[in-house]
Symmetry: C2
Subunit: 495 residues, 2 copies
């Protein structure tokens, strides 16, 4: 081969991209289309592909290619790409295959049993499986730490949010924790005086779907490059060239699929607008899970639950469900911003959501550090929920520490991304408002271009060219600054 | 490795099965789900997988494994499996990669241009591309002939209908050709006296889909192991564990999707009932394209267009489209058996369809033999349509020799399978009737078990354990016998 080492690497990563395309579409199909009897065959096929992808990423010749490519004269974009290739390579090679398989097995067992244990409120049985998952999770963290030079928990978080350490998360979460409970209390008191009218159902699935399609169109989703379907757990999947978004419909609750669709459309537009010329290379991928979440939350929270946007939603709701008092824009906005502290993270409102994340972050950080054990979780959970949201979770494992899927299969270090995303989203919109002081007036007129153009230019088209810190600085003039979230929440909920 | 050579081969074929699963689902998605902008990425991903499958099937170590496995002591089922593995291996290794790529390229070019040339009736432009496809097709035929020891055209046909030679096709088609035109004329004269009432549309897509689902349920389709969706060209795809069936709906024509769905359900039930214990191995695959077509035609022609089945369809049609005079069972049967010689194969009725196949078979056999050239096709086409169906196709390339996709990408040797399938389907139903003289009475009562049980036991569960000739003999006591089709057609159309 006459190609440079860098060219050989991009060739291999293009092949990986092609195979991942098939894997991704098969995964979407599994969740959105596949009938039950296809599941074993699908699991076998996808495991085979996972094995092939792993063999390709751990091919011993890659080390030498990476070494040689580092010395080659390549342009800055290629340099960034090489950095991302190296990061993927490190991550794939950091763990012994036996450990990966043990965690995968123990995680699958724990998650599978959890699906029955959660409704049964059976913490004791869960604990028996989870202890093994935690043990392996700690081992993974230590291995990743050895490879990266990061602290064990930071090394886990680095898989999802590269470059962000727990020191930084601590900094912004400690700040948040200081003002959030007070703000929640203040807003609750204030909202107690509000009369809010609920929409009257039932809301037939087909009509909700038609509404979702209209809302996605309003939000600029490209239906020539993606689809909307249904799945038990909504997600944005597929590939950048063909984004597969799912939602779920409850016929007694209109808002769940509506807000879910707006959220997933944010993820989808990021994917649909990644830099096309580098497609197939890691540099053309989304920057991180936190930045991804900053797009879904920019759509759902910053834009979607805003007062101006309620004026755009109202006529769509009336078109599909008739003229109801609930659809009056002011009322609709109150519906979308109602603050009710509750047990369950995925049902939480914009204001109380970060409390759920702070709680989980604190616990999982200590779990990985070894300063607490799995047995200590329920007591810490209750203590956290009491102090953050004034909620008593004693004995309620189902809607307490058994509610999330993440830990069941050993995904530690992911939770912070949700709230980092909320903070970045607020930071992006603060930047957009500086540029367009008339932003709300324009949104009210149906002109969403200022927001979308800014996101496209500063986030979407940047792919993974910059580190998260540099991306944030180039986009908004500063690295992560939690004050934007605070100002946004105070303006929206106390303004 | 301590495994026997045979075990190693089955391991490799299981891996192929897993990868083909992803390829198959991606192919279904491409036709039924994918938005337009996904097409380049999908084509690249599937080409990458095609390359991987090809490398696996042409791995030089397979020759040695096959040689060693031939000498190992294995049971008869494994022996049959080894035979099928060898057949796939031979077929993958018979052609030089450069030739495969040249044909694939020339075929793609010719097919792509044909999509515009057909509506434009532009034979001259088509010819320019097609000459190259034919040249490469002949080269492929010669290579396959060298490898298999068969005649060139037989070697092509062997890819789709292994073990069946053109000598045998000649035998049954010559017979058919002698009585078919007379029978068509007789039936036409007889039907001229019939009053037939058409169903009155429009027939909304969603209602047609609901009807299709009911009909599939009646026909025993397992919805836990498959789906029904829409595509431009209906097909039965997916994998045996998860059969993906498609249809298309015309709102002005109810019968097209109805009969299409019945047809594809026959293909699908074959796949859904292949032997599960050997799944993933070639011996558990469908026997051949002709046998596959014998299942779709058993459903569509033998069962679906029969008088007794019309009595089962009538209440379903009334349920979905109201009580129309057209849905009276006698009229419905007349609608489904109306004989109208026409230009287009895919629109042809049961009786005239074989004439379209005989025509194409005769022409493609001579094309491969080199006794005619591409330029000769239109004249031969017109001559054949005149003598077989009394139709003048001069100057009408669009609905004449430009109507099929097969030749455009070099698929020569496939056409006979359609009519071999019709003959086998008649042969199976003759066997079923011998066993169940009351078959029609039972169908009329909604009892389809005699037909389905026989097909399951004699065809579906046999997979590829036997050659086609042996499968037919074991199932029906004789090899291919065209008299069953003749008797069936005479009984249905003159009885």
């Amino acid at each position: 081969m006459n190609n440079t080492a860098y060219e050989q690497l991009t060739g291999i990563w293009t092949r990986l991209h092609h195979f991942q395309h098939l894997q991704s579409i098969a995964g979407w199909d599994q969740a959105a289309m596949m009938p039950s009897k296809g599941s074993t065959a699908r699991a076998n096929a996808m495991a085979e592909m996972e094995g092939l992808l792993h063999r390709m990423r751990t091919d011993p010749k890659l080390a030498e290619l990476l070494r040689r490519a580092a010395g080659e004269d390549i342009d800055p974009f290629a340099r960034a790409n090489l950095g991302e290739i190296r990061r993927e390579w490190l991550s794939a090679n950091a763990l012994p295959q036996a450990l990966v398989e043990k965690l995968s097995l123990a995680g699958a067992r724990c998650e599978h049993a959890w699906r029955a244990q959660r409704p049964a409120n059976d913490w004791a049985s869960f604990l028996a499986n989870f202890r093994e998952v935690l043990k392996l999770g700690r081992e993974v963290a230590q291995r990743l730490a050895d490879e990266t030079g990061l602290a064990p928990y930071d090394a886990l978080m680095d898989q999802y949010e590269p470059g962000t350490t727990s020191a930084e998360v601590d900094r912004v979460f400690v700040d948040l924790q200081q003002w959030l409970p007070g703000l929640v209390a203040q807003v609750r008191e204030r909202q107690a005086r509000d009369a809010v009218i609920d929409a009257v159902g039932p809301f037939p699935k087909a009509t909700q779907r038609a509404l979702s399609l209209d809302v996605m169109t309003l939000l600029g989703f490209d239906f020539d490059g993606g689809r909307l379907d249904e799945s038990a757990h909504p997600f944005s999947g597929g590939v950048p060239e063909d984004t597969r978004l799912t939602t779920r419909y409850r016929e007694d609750d209109l808002m769940q699929s509506l807000m879910g669709t707006i959220h997933e459309t944010g993820h989808a537009r990021y994917e649909q607008n990644l830099p096309r010329v580098w497609l197939g290379q890691p540099v053309a991928q989304a920057r991180s899970m936190g930045i991804h979440e900053s797009q879904s939350l920019a759509f759902e929270m910053q834009l979607g639950r805003g007062r101006a946007f309620a004026g755009l939603l109202a006529p769509l709701l009336r078109r599909h469900f008739g003229d109801q008092p609930a659809f009056e824009p002011g009322n609709l906005h109150r519906l979308m911003t109602r603050v009710v502290p509750g047990f369950v993270r995925v049902d939480a409102d914009e204001l109380t959501y970060p409390a759920h994340v702070i709680l989980r972050y604190g616990i999982e950080k200590q779990l990985i550090a070894g300063s607490i054990e799995a047995d200590d979780i329920p007591a810490l959970w209750d203590e956290g929920m009491q102090s953050l949201l004034g909620i008593d979770t004693r004995g309620n494992y189902r809607d307490g520490c058994l509610q999330d899927v993440h830990w069941t299969h050993g995904a530690f270090g992911y939770f912070p991304c949700y709230t980092l995303g909320a903070m970045y989203a607020a930071q992006w919109f603060a930047a957009i408002r500086r540029l367009h002081p008339d932003l709300d007036a324009r949104i009210a007129r149906g002109d969403l271009a200022p927001a979308f153009d800014w996101l496209r230019e500063h986030i979407w088209l940047q792919g993974s060219r910059w580190s998260t810190a540099e991306l944030a600085t180039r986009a908004s003039g500063e690295t992560l600054n939690p004050q934007h979230l605070r100002r946004h929440l105070e303006a929206r909920y106390l303004g």
